[in-house]
Amino acid sequence: MTYPSQLQYSRDHEWLSTDDTHGTVGITSFAAASLGDIVYVDLPAIGTIVTAGSPCGEIESTKSVSDLISPASGEVTAINDTVVSDPALINSSPYEDGWLFQLRLDDAPELMDADQYTLFANGTP
């Protein structure tokens, strides 16, 4: 599996794309493949203050429930309503149509680059 080089990655298998003060969050193709078909997603409401490393929502596949862990701290400014009504987009397009929410970043988070994440994901049992 290859991971887009322009994104940053968390140990909880979320990705973050940033432009200065704002970020967009999703889950990686590795996470999506491990979870299986995603059937429900619960996203933080706009205006919620999220904290890096803390749960801010839920992702349910047919067999399991996982916390959505924010890869960065800040205030949620937008959520992807399309993915709420069609969670399968997370499987089919994890880095594009399957994005989850956007936030105004408190600070620049310390995350992995694609090469580091590739090694990390390959070592995850």
Binding site: G36, D37, V39, Y40, D42, T62, V65
Partner: protein
């Protein structure tokens, strides 16, 4: 006994085939099994609309042979087997003395003096040991764990019949629901049973492990143009849930009798002879059970999962969820649960504690899904 996870999971004759198909594999009941090949939802829908191909070789096959085989099974299991015609099949159970369920089974009568008992993979040893012990004092009864001599491939779905007919030495139409017959499929000898665990018409093919990979590959190649797909255990679970079928370990356990499970019909109360658990089951059949298995439909798209509490609208706990999912076919969250009898009638409004959120639910009849094309019956 060492803990199960200290051993490598066992591989079926098809393990290599699953890996070459890119399956996500999982350890299930000590077996290395395909969870899904690609999308478990796509596999689920394929079984409902076309057909799916399953490896069930992990199931236990125990054979009972002897002139008194039917009488022995009347003693050892909860049902009555003497009246089964040769080549008939029966869904049944094995219970312990107190009526607690050891496993649910399908019993096939291959000949007057030869039965095939199919047990869940996780209960294979338990069932075999119990059957052996219960045969003490029975002359001329052989009980053989032949699980390693059989592979089991299921083809399930509305097109299963048509797909297999193209490869069968003689049409399978004549095979009635819940019966078994010798056939040749793609040139390989099989015992073809019209049984399954998906709620669809379909077949379970018992074959030699030496033939399994080639039989599987041939069925997959012939069925692919029609839309048949390999299907894993993940969709098997959602399919059986929609069909209201219990899973041992979830809906069935040693702490429950067939009556709590709503499956009292498997118990023959009028047996002419005594049987293991017979007294306890007769007694249990007399009184109203306090908890029963029910179907629940939840509001919203969140799944009720195993162990979640079921409450009355006023907040009194009345039961627990045993299986749940967002039904792929129906698009609603469904669950099976055990609830107090007073709260078990269809239409009763209840709540399910979904990780701290009380989600409204109501009791609905089982099964959640019933196929419209009945096939042969």
């Amino acid at each position: 006994m060492p803990p199960a996870d200290s051993q490598e999971p066992r591989r079926t004759a098809l393990a290599g085939v699953h890996q070459s198909l890119g399956a996500h594999m999982t350890d299930f009941a000590g077996w290395y099994m395909p969870l899904r090949y690609d999308s478990e939802l796509a596999e689920h829908h394929a079984v409902r609309t076309v057909a799916g191909l399953f490896d069930l070789s992990h199931m236990g096959e125990i054979e009972i042979v002897g002139t008194q085989a039917a009488e022995y099974l009347d003693y050892a299991l909860v049902g009555s087997y003497g009246a089964m015609a040769p080549l008939a099949a029966k869904y049944t159970m094995i219970c312990q003395d107190d009526g607690g369920i050891l496993d649910d089974l399908i019993v096939y009568r291959l000949r007057a003096d030869h039965f095939l008992v199919v047990a869940n993979a996780g209960n294979r040893e338990t069932v075999f040991t119990a059957l052996r012990q219960r045969s003490a004092g029975w002359d001329d009864i052989s009980i053989l764990d032949n699980s390693d001599l059989w592979s089991l491939i299921a083809v399930q779905g509305p097109l299963a019949l048509a797909i297999l007919n193209e490869m069968a030495d003689s049409p399978l139409d004549s095979l009635k629901h819940y019966s078994i017959a010798q056939r040749s499929i793609a040139g390989f000898p099989v015992l073809a049973a019209r049984t399954g665990y998906t709620g669809e018409d379909g077949f379970e093919l018992f074959c030699s492990p030496a033939d399994a990979a080639q039989l599987w590959t041939t069925i997959l190649e012939k069925g692919k143009p029609e839309g048949l797909v390999p299907a894993g255990l993940a969709c098997r679970d959602s399919l059986r849930l929609e069909a209201g079928m219990p899973l041992y370990g979830n809906e069935l356990s040693l702490d429950l009798t067939p009556f709590e499970a709503g499956l009292g019909r498997v118990v023959a109360l009028d047996k002419s002879r005594d049987s293991v658990g017979g007294d306890a089951l007769r007694e249990r059949s007399q009184d109203d059970v306090s908890r029963v298995r029910v179907g629940l439909e939840l509001e919203g798209k969140r799944s009720a999962r195993t162990g979640y509490a079921v409450l009355t609208p006023s907040g009194t706990s009345v039961g627990q969820v045993t299986s749940g999912a967002l039904s792929p076919t129906l698009g609603v969250a469904v669950a099976m649960a055990y609830v107090d009898r007073e709260s078990a009638s269809v239409g009763t409004p209840l709540l399910v504690d979904v990780r701290g959120v009380l989600v409204p639910a109501r009791i609905v009849p089982l099964p959640f899904y019933k196929r419209t094309n009945r096939g042969a019956s």
